[in-house]
Symmetry: C2
Subunit: 740 residues, 2 copies
């Protein structure tokens, strides 16, 4: 199976070119192709950075965000054709591009029966309708292509009961309500976004007998407290009262019916009714205008201070409404959901620049294409950057002035909003090929949240290459700072190795890097421009996943002039080029030493005493970390020796293989059998407060209240051995390749 299916067209040609590649770049007619660069060419790098234009990104975004392009919608398919056309352009396209389609389970509201949230009195009279759609403030919020607000994968059904306010719908929140003597059985819970994932709110609620869940965005969490129409979009970047955050309420990622298998037409599929991870009860998101009417009429105890918000009233817990309020004490809330789960075709698009020297080494650069509505910020800001970057590189390629040392693979993923589906299916289909050959994955999803500073997340080996890129590029705005110098003003940490440096964030599972990092063990990163946290406490940019996330919104409020978009394109582009063209891979594996040392110290301080009480020593972990540090340092010395000499190609390849494959050595598919796709023993989800090895931390929090000798304590010991074995295994791969 090719990387990409569906467009058979490219195949014959591909096979021919493939032969060309193997027979070598010599075989590619001269003139058509430049002599292969043996190392990063700084002139080319400057050229690329210089040719990336804000205006180009702006025009890309205008087109990409012109219409809503929900996954598998006609406009989504039209964008597939648009990207293919760009990547196949004779003057500025790539070597090859094609689309690949999977058949995946998505979830949509019924076109015939809108989801409905109402307040009804005891005789069934409807006293109040929550808004079923957002107000059409700019002429873009109406029309058939704007999907009404809904909770994707929430089951159809009608629930009715007394309303309670459950804050963020965490397990603790529901326990607090019960502690206050509130019976949750058969109630409807009003929750606000934040604290836990979307799906978790409904799953937690159902555990406590709640029969329906409403979710809204509190102005305190998104608008720095402001909520009036004249304070919000289109008068500012803030969320208007009718704005509703859509989103997937599925707990895992990947196509829900084909875990670990590519969702091809013929693939085995689970029975949808037996799939875990879906919300168990009807769930619907609403705007804070409607939420205010419900919340400000609740009776009962005053909610705790931390539960209060900015809707201009005291938040009470319920159950039910005030007798002296708008609805009367016997009125209930009715939640009617008509969502449907459907198998739909969703496409990834892949665009390739063939490497001249090591075509079998891939640098992946991707973003998703699908949005909830117009998705100007999410994801089109990233796609606009992707297209500008591929245009500049494609133009150099077609001119014959440049071809990378390694292959570059651009990807436009489908159905990310439903749970990283396109990227996960791709990772499942090409598991081994990607694991063996992928140098790194660069993700630029939301390119610009705000225009204050760069924000990068990634695994330790990518820190150095992102820093190199950021030091080379001027930051937008006055002051003449580099992106790096500007970045360090906003996010910094004191490194035991480097002193004060910008702090690279860690990767969760919020975008398409998740399958590459957690399932395939590929060094990954996510790059964006973001907020000045001293100016806003917004959870995320205010119109996130609403119909107000439009081109005008970006053009006027998020990044006027698109200079932050350009800065992201330059940073990501420079990082891409360094990874694809450098003779020696710019992956500093020794930066893992600082992370491991930090995890170790956190384990010693945070868990050491507890473990001690149960006769579990951290000695083996201490030596494992020390062994890693020594081996990484020695590897760096050998690398320097190699760079000083005139290394032969195989010596470089052997070293690069060690650098590329280090991340893989941390995978253990048997470490967390209950955590789907999570195999990376350092970055799996961590419960509990100690920032350390997740398997160990999670096992400790499960064991701490159990008896000595319990199965939970055995699991702590097992997790300790798993991480020690992973570190010692990683160290073995860093040692000289032919040492005993």
């Amino acid at each position: 199976m090719q990387w990409a299916k569906g467009l058979g067209l490219g195949l014959g040609a591909a096979a021919f070119l493939g032969l060309g590649v193997i027979v070598g770049h010599f075989a590619i007619p001269k003139g058509a192709d430049p002599p292969a660069s043996q190392d990063l060419d700084l002139e080319v790098l400057d050229t690329v950075i210089g040719q990336l234009e804000a205006g180009g990104i702006q025009e890309n975004l205008r087109e990409l965000a012109r219409e809503p392009h929900l996954a598998s919608s006609p406009r989504d398919e039209a964008l597939v054709q648009l990207l293919l056309q760009r990547w196949q352009d004779p003057a500025s396209g790539l070597d090859e591009a094609s689309a690949s389609t999977y058949e995946v389970l998505l979830s949509f509201p019924s076109p015939e029966q809108p989801n409905l949230v109402t307040v009804v009195d005891p005789i069934g009279e409807i006293l109040f309708f929550c808004n079923q759609s957002e107000k059409n403030l700019t002429g873009e919020q109406g029309g058939p292509d704007v999907v009404p607000p809904y909770a994707a994968y929430a089951p159809p059904g009608t629930s009715q009961g007394l309303l309670v306010y459950a804050n963020q719908g965490t397990e603790e929140d529901f326990m607090e309500l019960e502690a206050q003597g509130i019976k949750l059985n058969d109630t409807i819970a009003l929750t606000r976004y934040g604290g836990v994932g979307r799906g978790a709110k409904a799953i937690n609620a159902a555990k406590h007998g709640v029969v329906g869940v409403l979710v809204y965005t509190d102005p305190a969490d998104i608008n720095d407290g402001q909520s009036l129409p004249n304070e919000t979009f289109p008068h500012s970047w803030r969320l208007p009262p009718s704005g509703v955050e859509r989103g997937s309420y599925y707990e895992y990622f990947g196509d829900p019916l084909t875990p670990y298998l590519p969702a091809t037409h013929s693939s085995f599929r689970l029975d949808p009714d037996s799939v875990s991870g879906f919300p168990p009860i009807p769930t619907q998101p609403i705007g804070f205008d409607s939420a205010q009417v419900l919340l400000c009429n609740l009776r009962g105890n005053m909610a705790p201070d931390t539960w209060q918000g900015a809707l201009g009233c005291d938040y009470r817990l319920g159950p039910g409404f005030r007798p002296d309020g708008r609805f009367g004490e016997y009125s209930q809330v009715n939640v009617s959901v008509y969502n449907r789960r459907e198998l739909r075709n969703s496409s990834n698009i892949l665009g390739l620049i063939r490497g001249a020297v090591e075509p079998d080494r891939y640098v992946l650069y991707g973003n998703h294409r699908d949005s909830w509505v117009h998705g100007a910020v999410d994801p089109s800001s990233g796609t606009a950057v992707l297209l500008e970057l591929s245009r500049v590189l494609g133009t150099l390629l077609k001119k014959g002035t440049w071809r990378p040392r390694r292959s570059i693979l651009f990807a436009s993923w489908g159905a990310e909003e439903f749970g990283l589906i396109g990227s996960t299916e791709f990772a499942e289909e090409f598991f081994r090929k990607l694991q063996e050959r992928t140098v790194a994955y660069i993700n630029v999803d939301i390119a610009v949240f705000a225009n204050a500073t760069l924000r990068a997340q990634g695994t330790p080996p990518v820190q150095s290459v992102i820093f190199s890129s950021a030091k080379q590029i001027p930051a937008p705005g006055p002051g003449g700072l580099t992106i790096y110098d500007n970045w360090i003003r906003y996010f910094n940490r004191s490194s035991s190795v480097y002193g004060l440096i910008p702090s690279l964030g860690t990767l969760g599972a919020g975008s398409d890097y998740a399958p590459f990092l957690h399932f395939l063990g590929i060094s990954s990163m996510d790059i964006a421009y973001t907020y000045d946290r001293s100016k806003t406490s917004a959870r995320i940019y205010p119109t996130y996943h609403t119909a107000f996330d439009t081109f005008g919104y970006v053009d006027k409020f998020v990044d006027p002039g698109f200079s932050s978009h350009r800065a992201v394109a330059q940073t990501a582009g420079s990082t891409l080029l360094r990874l694809s063209d450098s003779l020696i891979l710019p992956l500093n594996v020794s930066d893992y030493s600082e992370t491991l040392r930090g995890f170790l110290q956190a384990a010693q301080h945070g868990l050491g005493a507890l473990l001690e009480q149960h006769g579990i020593g951290l000695g083996p972990l201490v030596s494992a970390v020390e062994n890693f540090e020594k081996a990484a340092m020695a590897l760096n010395q050998r690398m320097l020796a190699l760079q000083e000499g005139s290394p032969d190609p195989l010596q470089v390849r052997m070293l690069n293989d060690q650098l590329m494959l280090l991340e893989r050595t941390f995978l253990n598919p048997r470490a967390f059998p209950e955590e789907r796709y999570y195999s990376h023993v350092l970055w799996a989800p961590r419960t509990g407060s100690v920032a350390t090895f997740p398997g160990l931390a999670n096992a400790c929090s499960r064991a701490k209240d159990t008896a000595p000798g319990s199965a939970a304590w055995a699991e702590v010991r097992r997790q300790l051995s798993i991480v020690v074995a992973a570190l010692e295994g990683a160290t073995a791969t860093l040692r000289p390749v032919a040492d005993l």
Copy 2:
């Protein structure tokens, strides 16, 4: 962690040499090292083959088999020193050698309380003692170092009951006994070796209420019917009446307490009492002399014809003894077992020849060192060959006339007899490093079963290189045939691609190749000389796992003159050199096409109708196989084109990576969660008669009697998708490396 621990001595040197390797073989002082050969040097190959001496192997074996060397015994440790000394010899040693120790769970009989099998009458009088040890026929079967016959890992305990004869102790055998109206509760079952694994006999028996198990070797199965003292060893190679096959009765492989983790001192260990895979009831092997006394006195129905043997009486089923026989009808059999499970240190020894050009590519060659008693055939015949081969290569190395292109790693594994423990712990400890870098694993355990013909087993990619070796070497004995031409006379098949060729067997889990193939996905092979099946139907060589497997036995009966040993050394040595020195790896991945086509046809003919009835089509599997065939053929064409040109080193490396890593692409650690270590979707254990994809075949046999829509039928669909995804994934890795 280095490859090898324990002997810190080598480490500093290792690090220095390691640096040397990276800086390149240029850096190694001239004179000390020859210019690196870029391709296989046929002169060197002939030299090696010519210098391998039967006499050297004979003397190795004389020393290795001089004393019993049970795993972790003092003599086993002495042999560790002997091998280290050979591999560290200044004139004929390797670059480096060191030992590495694991702490593993073994099982031994009690030195104080011998296991005892008796016949007792109703008042407790002992009427008969089964022999507790083998007769000391050559002066080698006595003494403290000869471990008495026992069933390793069988639990201690005493059971007593009426005796039944249960043939081979298969599930079907016990069902047959019940069908004949025999109540198995509280009986002792006498079984004979063969049919199923050792442990399975006890596990099956316990399911039917049996409380103790005896196992013996029937002369019909091992001696072609002969059983008299003057017909057997020391008068012939046949098993004498008191001979008892020892063995591990553990159902899995690897250290029982540390599945998937290396058995380091600090590793997490399971509670031994909660480990699965051990025999649940007292079990003891006995000689056919004792078995005859028991079996020929049984009462009850005549056993089926296929259950009859060569003990010179009619085999009856019991329960209990004949009233007119030696014991009387109320006598019972008592089985008293005093085995102990103990944590013991067991060592692997690793010897390295550093590759000159690609030191990070490893060709592994290994055999276990531990035996049950003297173990002249098993395993010392293989170790004697290993030492002769390492001597010849080491001498060339030390002379400075040769250094391989790739690294060669020789291994002497510990505790194989208890369940492939040393090799499995090594595979667990260096999982990623081995997966990334190992070209192939060559196993020579029992080098010579008999001296008629070569017998090789392996995965398809190794067929061609074994054939090349076999065609180059003269077969022992008259006729002037090559090993290949002699081989084809004994084992052959008609290949759709090659016509009549020797048939390469498939690999199960009978020796140390199992963890490398099934857990790591490394192309593996096992090479030996074996029987003329027209002359004997023996299950295996007669003295297998007995105290009669001695140097004299080999020297006199198995391979007088050691010419078959030499033939194995030459074949394995040639294969090793071809894999380590050839510019392009001699792994013919396209030979997998014939295997896949065969599996597919077997699935179509053997399962197609059944699947059809349940609406399961094999279409996706058909195209997956076709896609693989096309990609493999195209790869071969590119390889030829490359060989004709003057390929640059990276082009060769890229192609070799495709060849080396193909086997890996068939691994899916989530395919068979219940089958410990088995991840290879083509070679996992297969129940049922259809020789096809094991996951599919096994799922079908479980599903065939269940209702449509059962979970078992869903598993059939899942297994079909798993194998399709594995084949398509493999195909993707064979395609040109930079094709979309």
